[in-house]
Symmetry: C2
Subunit: 320 residues, 2 copies
C-alpha cells in the first residue's frame, strides 16, 4: 500500500464510517480486531462482482456500491445471521473521484441501514472488480443451512420473483416497460432488499434456506441436493408482480421468475406443522411470503401445473 491508496481509503471509506462498539481496532492497522458476542456463532460469506460479468460497466456507481453490499447481506439473511462487519477489496483501473464518491455513498447507505461496519479492505489497481466478505452472528445451533429440508416440507419464498430480471432485460434493451412501472422495476434490480429480518425470524422454524441469486429453479436445486430430496414447484403459485404480468407474457413472466436471477428473496422450507405460524412470525419483517411447492422423495427440481409435471426450458447462469 502506498500514499495514494491511503488517501483514497481515508477520504472515501474511513471518515464516513458508522462505529460499532464491538470494533476494537478499526480499519487502518494490519488487521481489524473485533469482539464477537461470546456465545454466538460467526457466519462468513464472500462474493466477487466483476465488471462486464456481474454488472454492466456503466452501472450507476451509487447503485453498484449499495448492491455489492446488499447481495452479500442476502447470504447472511439466508443463514439467519445478524450483520456485524464487512471487508471490501476493490480493484480500480484508475482513480476517478466522480465514480468513487457515489460508489462509497451507496455502499455506506446500505452499511448504515443494516448496521454493518467496514473493518478493512484493500484498494488495488487493475480491471474493475469488487470482493466483499461479510460477517454476522447467529445464536448457537440456530443457523439455517441448505441441508435440513425433509420430504413433505413446504417450499416458500419471500416477496415477488422476476422483477429484478425484468429490470435487467429493460436495461439491456430487450424489453420495453410501461412508463408507470419502469422506475420501480429498475429499482428492484439496482437496490435489492436483503431479507435480514425474515432470515432471523426463520431461525428454528425453517428447515432449510437459500437466497435467490441465480434464480429459483437453480437455487432451490441446491436445497434439494443438499437435503437429499426433490423439489416440486407449482408454477401457478409463483408470486408475480403486477408490473411483471403487465409487461410480459405469462410464459415470459414464469421464465423470469424461475431463472431470471438476482431476486435476493429467500427460498426456505418449513415442516407442514410450522406453516400456520409463518404469517405471525414474518409479520414484523416487512416480507410477504408464498408457498410455491413441496419437497418430495427423489432428487432434482420438477415443475408442476394442476398437480401434473410439466417441462420448462430454462437458461441458467453459467460463468464458464
Amino acid at each position: 500500500m502506498a500514499c495514494g491508496e491511503f488517501d483514497l481509503i481515508e477520504r472515501f471509506f474511513k471518515k464516513r464510517q458508522n462505529q460499532r462498539s464491538d470494533v476494537i481496532v478499526p480499519i487502518g492497522d494490519d488487521c481489524a480486531v473485533l469482539a464477537p458476542i461470546a456465545d454466538q456463532l460467526l457466519a462468513v460469506s464472500t462474493d466477487t462482482l466483476v465488471s462486464g460479468v456481474h454488472f454492466y460497466p456503466d452501472m450507476p456507481p451509487h447503485a453498484l456500491g449499495y448492491k455489492s453490499l446488499a447481495v452479500n447481506l442476502s447470504d447472511l439473511a439466508a443463514m439467519g445471521a445478524t450483520p456485524r462487519w464487512v471487508s471490501l477489496a476493490i480493484t480500480l483501473p484508475n482513480v476517478d473521484e466522480n465514480w468513487l464518491e457515489p460508489f462509497s455513498a451507496g455502499f455506506f447507505e446500505a452499511a448504515e441501514y443494516y448496521d454493518i461496519q467496514l473493518i478493512g479492505g484493500d484498494v488495488t489497481k487493475g480491471p474493475l472488480s469488487i470482493t466483499l466478505t461479510v460477517q454476522g452472528q447467529i445464536p448457537r445451533n440456530q443457523q439455517i443451512t441448505r441441508s435440513g429440508a425433509n420430504v413433505g416440507d413446504w417450499i416458500c419464498v419471500t416477496g415477488q420473483l422476476g422483477d429484478s430480471a425484468l429490470g435487467l432485460q429493460n436495461l439491456a434493451g430487450k424489453i420495453s416497460l410501461l412508463e408507470g412501472d419502469k422506475a420501480r422495476v429498475i429499482k428492484k434490480h439496482y437496490y435489492p432488499v436483503p431479507r435480514l429480518l425474515a432470515g432471523q425470524a426463520l431461525r428454528g422454524v425453517a428447515t432449510a434456506a437459500i437466497d435467490l441469486s441465480d434464480g429459483l429453479a437453480s437455487d432451490v436445486g441446491h436445497i434439494a441436493k443438499a437435503s437429499g430430496c426433490k423439489a416440486v414447484i407449482d408454477v401457478d403459485s409463483l408470486p408475480l408482480s403486477d408490473a411483471l404480468l403487465a409487461n410480459t407474457s405469462v410464459e415470459q413472466a414464469v421464465a423470469l421468475a424461475l431463472a431470471g436471477g438476482e431476486d435476493y428473496e429467500l427460498c426456505f422450507t418449513v415442516a407442514p406443522s410450522a406453516l400456520s405460524a409463518l404469517e405471525t412470525l414474518l409479520a414484523h419483517t416487512g416480507a410477504s411470503f408464498t408457498c410455491i411447492g413441496q419437497m418430495h422423495a427423489g432428487e432434482g427440481v420438477e415443475f408442476a401445473r394442476d398437480n401434473k409435471q410439466i417441462n420448462l426450458e430454462l437458461e441458467g447462469f453459467v460463468h464458464f
Copy 2:
C-alpha cells in the same frame, strides 16, 4: 454461481481440505458457520493480488497459491493472532486445470502447515486476481497494534531484509546472482515465511508491530505515524544476508533492505526494559531478531550512520 463453478470448487478446493473442529458449516452453503473461542477477539485482514501489478503473470502457480496465503498470514502475525479461517475469491480468465492444480496445491500447503481452513469464497470469470480474507484469534487485550510505540522504545526486525527484493530483481533480469545463492534467494521471494510464532510470542511485550510488505522505510513510518513518534533507523544495523552482500554493492543492499519490499518479516518496538527478555521469548519461534533503531520524539522516519543523520533516496511502492 453455476455448475462449472461448483465443479471447480469441489475439485480443487473442497476435497483436499484439512478440517478444523471449530468449523460448524464448511464451504458450500450460503455462509460458513464458525465457532470462535468465546473469550478471544477476532483479527481479520483482506488483501488483493492482481496479475501484472502484484505478481508477474508467469509466476509459478504453486508459488502464487502459497504466497497469496502466506502474505495474508503475515498480517495476522503482525497483530499477534493465531490463524483460524480463510476465504478465497479468485477471478480467472478461463479454466486451466494445469494452472489450478498447482495453485491449489501451493495454497493448501500453506493452509495445512499453519492450520487455517478454507471456509468459503468465490470463483469468477475475469482478469486474474486473488482476494483473501484471513481470520485469527487473539486473547483479549493482547492485540499488537501499530499505535503503541513510545519515545525510547527500541525498533527491531525479525530475520534478514532485502533477499526477497533481490530475488525479484533477478527474476526481472536486473541483477544476476551467483549460482550458489540463486535458489535460496528466489525461494525467499516466492515462499515467504509468515512470522506467526514470533507475533504470538510478542503479545504483551511488543508495544507496536507491523509486517514488512512495502519495505522497512515505508512500513516503520506507519508505526511512527500511528504512535506519534519519529523512527530513527541505524542503517549499519540492518540484518543483511551473506547472499545479499555477495551479489550487490553495500548501497544496493541497504536500498533493497529498506525499500525493496516483500520481506514479510515483523518490525516491532519494545520498551528498553523488555529488550533483555526478547532472546528467550523468540528462541522457540525460529525467528532471529535485530535491533535496528529507536523511537524518538518527532515524526516520520530518519536514517543514521554512526549516530549522524544521513539522507537516502528511496523509491516506495505506489499503486496509483
